[in-house]
Symmetry: C3
Amino acid sequence: MRHLISTKNLSNQEVLDIFKDAKDFLDKKPRTLLEGKSITTIFFENSTRTLSSFESAARRLGARVLRLDVARSSSSKGETLYDTAANLDAMSPNAIIIRHSHSGAPQILSHHIHCPLINAGDGKHAHPTQALLDLFTIYEHFKGEIKGKKITIIGDIKSSRVANSNIDLLTRFGLEITLVAPPHFMPNSNLNYTYDIKKAIEKADIIMSLRTQVERHEKIVYASLKDYANDFCINSSLINDKKVILLHPGPVNRNIDISDEVMNDPRNLVLKQVEHGVAIRMAVLKKFILEN
Amino acid sequence: MRHLISTKNLSNQEVLDIFKDAKDFLDKKPRTLLEGKSITTIFFENSTRTLSSFESAARRLGARVLRLDVARSSSSKGETLYDTAANLDAMSPNAIIIRHSHSGAPQILSHHIHCPLINAGDGKHAHPTQALLDLFTIYEHFKGEIKGKKITIIGDIKSSRVANSNIDLLTRFGLEITLVAPPHFMPNSNLNYTYDIKKAIEKADIIMSLRTQVERHEKIVYASLKDYANDFCINSSLINDKKVILLHPGPVNRNIDISDEVMNDPRNLVLKQVEHGVAIRMAVLKKFILEN
Amino acid sequence: MRHLISTKNLSNQEVLDIFKDAKDFLDKKPRTLLEGKSITTIFFENSTRTLSSFESAARRLGARVLRLDVARSSSSKGETLYDTAANLDAMSPNAIIIRHSHSGAPQILSHHIHCPLINAGDGKHAHPTQALLDLFTIYEHFKGEIKGKKITIIGDIKSSRVANSNIDLLTRFGLEITLVAPPHFMPNSNLNYTYDIKKAIEKADIIMSLRTQVERHEKIVYASLKDYANDFCINSSLINDKKVILLHPGPVNRNIDISDEVMNDPRNLVLKQVEHGVAIRMAVLKKFILEN
């Protein structure tokens, strides 16, 4: 049984195969590939965007979705995560899509269930479908010519599962990554990095702004959000007339991550990412349910 | 792209066409008219009744429904309403059904999305499908002979989007409206009004009692609910053996809006309204999704 | 119109017919028996397990499910349970599945609705589908030879709707019941009982451990949970190498109801019960919707 815990679970060829399917699925036609299949979503962390993207994807393939309402679940009766999963599994879903605030929770659970488990984000660890849709958006924009493209990742990189999964995938596909962040947001890594956002953007083909995960930091970071925005918010003067595209996993903190003006800029592909997200998740569900 | 923000978006002929479809749909048979279509519901205000009416309608036509759980959504992460809508839109639903506590929110959003938007109630502004189902209930009861019928609207009219939408629609179809309410619940309008409920009911063919929107008023109104009920609750002695029908959008505050006794009276069409509501919403979804 | 409020609503032959259907449904293939049917779930008490079991069952038969979110419903606007039910009913579902914290609530409601009502647990009264799936698990394990089998029921029997429904059903099928519990958890009944768990387990073919319903007791019981566990937790030394099967309705309080070690024991059929639960609920929905 194969699970999608991290981008590392997929070979480069498999990623390209997923992109091929996703491209087909961009026609938005309803399909019956997963008719009769049951997919359970269980999100232990609040989310509308990713949850509805997965559920839209599942339904567009004809699957039935059972949404587990965790706030009301037996977890609040003291049940262990393992018991919750074992019980879900005993109802024989064809796939379980899970989000959890603890890094590694999906990995542990995957050993105890009998259907593919798709990680929809775990703690600071991984968010594989987000990285897939980000790379797919870049791949589509540059018509497949992505090797050697320069990407600048900006923001709270250290706490970001989106950055982790992207760094793995972008590196494997030959993109050149530069990290930009204030020191307390910068991870230890072998990658190029700088504290100078202007310099970093100068040569970039792609800017990936991350969400400032204010909810994962101490209160003191809140107080300095304005200072952060002064230094790292993507605004018009930073990108002026550069030929560049801008990505962000959403939801965007307006005027902290990206300025209002740049939100309306045609180089901003944030909504394209959302559209691509449904198609990528359709391709992932198809692969992990039908080819497993 | 046409949206249903208010009853003013529909011509009288279109209203009658909706009634014709709704009458067919009263057979309650499942249909496949919207098979393969995806409908998103996003309710920023609590509701079971209207939400489940819309979702039942969508499913009875074969559509798939994605319910957005707003309490858990990115709104709580500080996302703007516009960004939430743009993101939903990027997932390419075939219609969005929205309820919002701010008057005008659906109107603003409708400019930014690429599918029909159906207003399921916005602040004190409009609730078009409620007015349609109310008029449909009257229309069915009087077998289409509704011109000149006298309707008395009672209650918290000033804060009521139900009253607003009904006043537009009832007037256009030639019904004669009289408003009855205590002064602080009475809107400024050109309509007939009185503070004397007995006199108002005397000549009425139809009584429309509104829900006392206790949650939209200051605490001082709570204190006087009992006084309100003394004066304006529809009870047996008010309607004794009159030939009249009684409507209410629900949920009814028993013994404040309507007495227990009158709740069981055959002239009370509250449950008929609920039944008609599903059929009307089926007709509305059919029209706005298939004819747009 | 027939409703499933308690196991007493079913003859022994009907129970066996349900088991026959459930056995077929264990193949987990999707079916179209309830295509075009609408099922409403309304749970006034928190639950993931039973709710998702019913919803999985409904979907696996091709029905559409409308989940009522009671926390957000008009109940919080002060609507009576009767009005909520009458309104649901007016939307013409093909079945209503209800859980309620008040014993008897489903019985009262069943008089006012026009579709089969399935009780998914009411207060301390009844939980018929749980008892059906428990007996089905025993029936499958012993290949139908259940008459005369000895079952020991352990735990908070007095407050347990699961115990109530099981005691009715197990007795009717000729099993010999012994109750084991501390005095404050022991009901008044004509059944064999003992306070000595070792003696009770000695002769048992089946052990049914119940969930300690800590949420239904006063705080003082919490304080003695550890004492309870010392005396009544099912652990390895109690069952050592006995030939016995262990049931529990879940969620299990680990090391209070059942020890970690026994949770992993092959004689523990807790997950089998969950699997059987979906099949039993499919059979129940088929019977009450199609044969009514």
